[in-house]
Subunit: 138 residues, 2 copies
Amino acid sequence: MDSQARLEHVAIAVPDLEAAVQVYSTILGRAVAGREHVESEGVRVAFFELDGPRLELLEPTGPDTPIGRFLERRGPGLHHIALEVPDIEGAIERCRAAGLETVGEAPRTGAGRRKVAFLHPGGTGGVLLELSQRADEP
Amino acid sequence: MDSQARLEHVAIAVPDLEAAVQVYSTILGRAVAGREHVESEGVRVAFFELDGPRLELLEPTGPDTPIGRFLERRGPGLHHIALEVPDIEGAIERCRAAGLETVGEAPRTGAGRRKVAFLHPGGTGGVLLELSQRADEP
């Protein structure tokens, strides 16, 4: 099986989604492609398509959420990148064998029935890295 | 003219390039695609192709370089993202009209005779954003 990863999205934590949508529409020369409210993660998302990968803007729904705590600690900025892999169990196994740690349940089911897992920044050069595998066709 | 941006690369600042290349080869399931030493920026670069955009690892050649100072201040992690635009002068004008500031000379000539410009993180939600336009064919 092909084990090569591709970039799925880059995510930026912002305190004010509408202001950020306006700025990024200007920079990208594109209209926002969609919006999502992920209640389980306490986040509102707006995303832009970038010919393959997406750029996601993440606004917390409150201070006691992962993005709310990130903003409190680091301020707005790049939050994580997501890699799409064809075989997430294989990728997790390969990473763990190399000494990388996962955060939380791995894999778990994310938006759009994707299987997702997060690699701890301690092993990846300070980068929160999401691995993601598309749901099988129904 | 089409003014839409695409993602050109995501760059990560690391203290030890060879260690990071090994980790990212494992995560990505890909071999490193190339290396570059950009003396004018005081940086050694290794990059991976991700089906369109690239992932770049940046190691400073010394502490008194942009990446050296970033590592000292923030530690390793996501450093900037680069967007390829078809008309960089037009993009800079559009961004300035919206109140965004550029850093340094904009545009200037970067690696591979690209025209590049950087948008100040203050206006972009904390993200150092590189705009980049390919060199015209000779």
